[in-house]
Amino acid sequence: MMQHISSNPHVRAKDSTSRIMLLVCIALLPACGFGIYQFGIRALFHIVITVAVCVITEYLYQYFMKKRITVSDFSAVVTGLLLAMNLPVYAPLWIGAVGGVFAILVVKQLFGGIGQNFMNPALAARCFLLISFSRHMTNFFDGQSGATPLAVLKDGKAVDSWDMILGTCEGVIGETSVIAILAGAVILLMAGVISIRIPACYLASFIVFLVLFGGKGFNLSFITAHLAGGGLMLGAWFMATDYVTSPITPKGQILYGIILGILTGIFRIFGNSAEGVSYAIIFGNLLVPLIEKITIPTAFGKGKFNYVTQKTAGGEKHE
């Protein structure tokens, strides 16, 4: 008779990496579904191609590098979905494939695979595509003139916030409908996949920034348009909360959220481009090690909550 020997504990919770990633995929479905409904079958092609290329790239890299194949953890699917959701529907269909290879190969696998990348692969790939193929990546109207609500807003004109909340406006495949994205966010929160710390601090600090530097003071429709426009909702709920590239310390998550809000504000208000979420988040990703370093939690019983410390401090006061 042979029994297993290992260090305590001897029981494990049911949760697994693949289950978490699958939940993220499910939470992205409302926004994907809305994108397909709004932009048609071409949006579905983009999604399928990008996801497939991400998964295949991961598989081939691991196969040829003789590493453990980890495609079943669904993380490449999440990357593919997020990247596809960041593509304009009229972009050529090969663009998601190029982005997918960049995301998985360069940003994720070359740095050591899941858990090791210091930038969000989908966002890094989006930024890569934006810089490399800007014409395709900003082609929202199939060659016709027009602008996304955020660009209209940037020009100082009024936009219909209601359209933006519903999603019946122009934009990339997965970021137009605030309602669909929030439905996904609720799934993530309810399933305990994400905590509200990063998105809440991100959105709150962005609002404060808008009020202070937006040039319109506390203008509700201006703020609503900015919150609902561009990639903010998708970014705040699905990309800023990416585990690997956000701080693990609770205080660090709060600080990270605040920094993202400020960066997004700077990029949107003072920058050339209307959009700023992607750059804000990948910039924030780079700050994560530093943020963690200055937000090491106080251990239980340490610091000012220690009973002995409190007692001596209290005793001195009485004297």
């Binding site: 297993h4 305590n8 029981v11 978490i20 980890t70 956000s246 609770p250 090491i296 239980f300 909550f305």
Partner: protein, 438 residues
Amino acid sequence: MSVLTFRGGIHPFDGKELSKEKPIQKLLPVRDLVYPLSQHIGAPAVPIVKKGDSVLAGQMLAEAGGFVSAPIYASVSGTVKSIEPRLTPGGIRVNSIVLENDGNYKEVAYEAGKPLEQLSADEVTGAIQKAGVVGMGGAGFPTHVKLSPKDRSQIDYVIANCAECEPYLTSDYRRMLEEPEKLIEGMQIILSLFPNAKGVFAVEDNKVDCALKLEKLVKGQQNMEVKTLKTKYPQGSERHLIYAVTKRQINSTQLPADAGCIVDNVDTICSVRQAVVEGRPLTSRIVTVTGDAIKDPCNFEVLLGTSHLDLIEAAGGLLGEPEKIISGGPMMGNPLFELDVPVVKTSSALLCMSGDEAALEPQACISCGRCVDVCPGQIVPSRLASFAAQGKQEEFEKWNGMECCECGCCSYICPAKRHLTQSIKTMRRQILAQRRKK
């Protein structure tokens, strides 16, 4: 009544249903009895018998090896067969006295103690010291040392740790249900040492029946009360229990007495009563034999030194071939690779599991932060485990790695199935060993 607790912790499958309804049965040993000389924290006990000696139950076999140590008594009558290294539930070989049971269970004549009012504090702790009582919840710290802090008047809480937060364990539960009077009498004895202290029975809210029973018994006694705690692991961890009851926090280097508290578990308090009232040494304890791979889960009153093989046989034997057999609970217990090891003062359970959940291949950390959420020490297990793996001692200490209480919550919750507790524990032990050398 408000429910008290701390931040963090987990809710593993508790498995208590298996043995909860089983009354405590006395178990008589079949095989030889083995008494490791080191079954407590501190100096090993020193044998005072030799091979061939006949002994009676309750006779001292080994005397304490110092102040922080405890004597060991025979639990049966018989002949000393040998004194030799034997395997303990902790997995190491320890010099042990082996006794052949003559089956007569002839006891020495115990001298019942004087009434409590006539005993001085030193006489009380003396009786506890002589009886070899140690912390029976798992740590094995000699109880008389715990009960002798620098200034007894500074203690304002004596907390009976009735949490029993480890899954599957029901020994304290049965004890509280069957003999609550003994627990209360033990508490009275301990309270007699601390003039300013209040006695608190801290019970998890999954044992409401025990709480109600105790409440009825302490009614009208001004120096005792029952407090209900949230059912959560590791509610019974000493520092977290103190916090839940008193809101006082202490760090890993401080003692409960620094927070004005004394904490003892149920079985320990009952042994204190037995030592002071009956003059009987510690020779038995309650052990839960349970798990899905045991035929008839039970709660036994076991004579110390009894082989774990006897426990399994008494519980109807094994079902199939268990993958893992654990001395203690699933969160902090020690796995056994050999079953012919003796029950010692700190053995709370024997858990036989048909499957081993811990035997999953660890994957890469995705920094999900679940370990941070559940860590009762409010540290960052995933980062600490990386520092440990890379041998980064300075970083490990800077991130408060030494504050880990080794409860196992981080490994339990990790979706990547990483062995976080193990890595952190190893580094901690290394650093502690280094510090002792200096």
